[in-house]
């Protein structure tokens, strides 16, 4: 034991070395949990393990992967669509395309930019391995169908999970109609002329430019709004809200 006195603050001493090799004495470091807390821990552990088993049992997990410039605006639809959306045009034409490897909460979703060829875009994402991070999927994509999802965006999924009709969804038109194409172009111009402007535009200037871009688009029934509390902002950005037909100017950040 001659070296024990030298150990103040040192990394290794004989006592510590022995203890570190004997987990059976580590209990002394902490006070025991009472019975209620042990029961709570056990319940939590069993609940979590069972949930994990269910998840891994299916070997799937819900995941949304954004590809390209598409933002988090994409609203991913579930298995059941809203009857009111039974038309072939998305109400969220600028939200991008939700490419899915299945249907429901455990589907992996790859979001791609709006395109006139949603199925082709999703096939390309599949071939690029976007769906394949944790699983061994075939490299060739399955036959896809394109529907308008319950969130109003175009949703593409493998046909084996059901046709759009079987899922209560509208079959997506092959391409955007003139109105939706104009909305997509409007969004592109707002991004380029307002949101990318350097230095940042004031709310008043952003709204003025948005009005000009809106006039140029030829869209009817649209308006520009400055969000409450943002009118005096020295830096503002604009968002195209397609379902409300509004370009909303908001202070930033």
């Amino acid at each position: 034991m001659s070296d024990v006195d030298d150990v103040n603050g040192n990394d290794v001493d004989p006592i510590s070395s022995w203890i570190s090799q004997h987990p059976e004495v580590w209990d002394n470091a902490v006070t025991p949990l009472d019975d209620d807390r042990i029961d709570a821990l056990v319940d939590r552990v069993i609940g979590r393990a069972q949930a994990r088993q269910r998840r891994y049992g299916a070997q799937r997990r819900r995941k949304v992967i954004a590809v390209g410039a598409v933002t988090g605006m994409l609203v991913v639809g579930g298995a059941v669509g809203a009857a009111a959306l039974l038309r072939g045009q998305p109400s969220q034409p600028i939200a991008g395309i939700a490419c899915q490897d299945g249907i429901g909460d455990d589907a992996v979703v790859v979001a791609i930019d709006p395109t006139d060829d949603p199925i082709g875009g999703c096939e390309a994402a599949w071939r690029a391995g976007r769906f394949n991070e944790d699983r061994d999927l075939p490299s060739e994509p399955p036959p896809f169908v394109a529907c308008v999802g319950s969130g109003g965006a175009v949703q593409v999924h493998p046909l084996e999970f059901g046709t759009c009709e079987e899922l209560g969804l509208a079959t997506a038109d092959p391409a955007l109609d003139d109105d939706n194409r104009s909305v997509a172009e409007l969004n592109d111009r707002i991004v380029a002329e307002v949101n990318s402007s350097m230095p940042c535009l004031s709310a008043t200037d952003a709204a003025a430019i948005a009005e000009r871009v809106l006039d140029d688009s030829g869209l009817s029934g649209w308006r520009v709004e400055i969000r409450t509390g943002s009118a005096a902002a020295s830096c503002a950005k604009a968002a195209v809200v397609a379902d409300r037909k509004v370009i909303e100017v908001t202070k930033f950040p």
Binding site: M1, V4, D5, V7, N8, G9, P14, I15, S16, S17, W18, I19, S20, Q21, H22, P23, E24, V25, W26, D27, N28, A29, V30, T31, P32, L33, I38, D39, L41, V42, R44, V45, I46, R48, A49, R52, Q53
Partner: protein, 190 residues
């Protein structure tokens, strides 16, 4: 809940009750806060639950080796991004429960009559606590934080505990001590 499920739960509860202190002690080395440690403790036991069929066939020391190693992995990966932690958990799921020794901490011998274990058991609970915390890698300020005392007080307690350990160890090995005991520890000098 069926009878079988209730039996399973009871068996697992006994397992948790027997080892939760050791697991929490091992996890105390993490730099995370109390809620992180609690979360990692649940993670360790989730992995144990998934392998409980295998673990329940081992003796207590082997179970502790597995738990200590698993806790060590989780502590090492704490703070890394979620994907890395997920991969670690998957790797741990795949490891055999009786793996080959991977670090000095995995080398466990039953302390039974071992002199150090015997001396430790003669110290009071507070002295054992600071010695074990020190051995697990905590310094004075860290022990102070865990025990709600100042770093200076923690260091002082550690010094007192070491002195008490030395005294008890010397008494155990003195000629006055029982012949059988001194013979059994002949040649053991720390």
């Amino acid at each position: 809940m069926t009878d079988e499920q209730r039996d399973d739960r009871d068996g697992f509860r006994r397992f948790v009750g027997a080892h939760e202190r050791m697991v929490r002690a091992a996890l105390s080395r993490s730099e995370g806060n109390a809620s992180d440690v609690e979360e990692m403790c649940a993670d360790v036991f989730v992995l144990a639950y998934e392998r409980f069929d295998e673990l329940s066939g081992l003796d207590a020391v082997q179970q502790r080796v597995w738990l200590a190693r698993t806790a060590g992995f989780l502590v090492a990966n704490h703070g890394r991004r979620a994907a890395t932690r997920r991969r670690t958990a998957k790797r741990l799921q795949a490891l055999p429960v009786l793996n080959e020794v991977v670090s000095a901490e995995d080398v466990v011998v039953s302390h039974g009559e071992d002199a150090v274990g015997m001396v430790l058991s003669r110290l009071d609970a507070g002295q054992r606590q600071v010695l074990v915390l020190r051995a697990l890698g905590h310094d004075g300020p860290s022990i102070g934080r865990l025990l709600g005392i100042t770093a200076g007080t923690a260091r002082k307690r550690l010094m007192v505990a070491r002195a008490a350990f030395i005294t008890a160890y010397e008494q155990l090995n003195s000629p006055d001590h029982g012949q059988g005991t001194s013979e059994s520890h002949e040649g053991r000098v720390l």
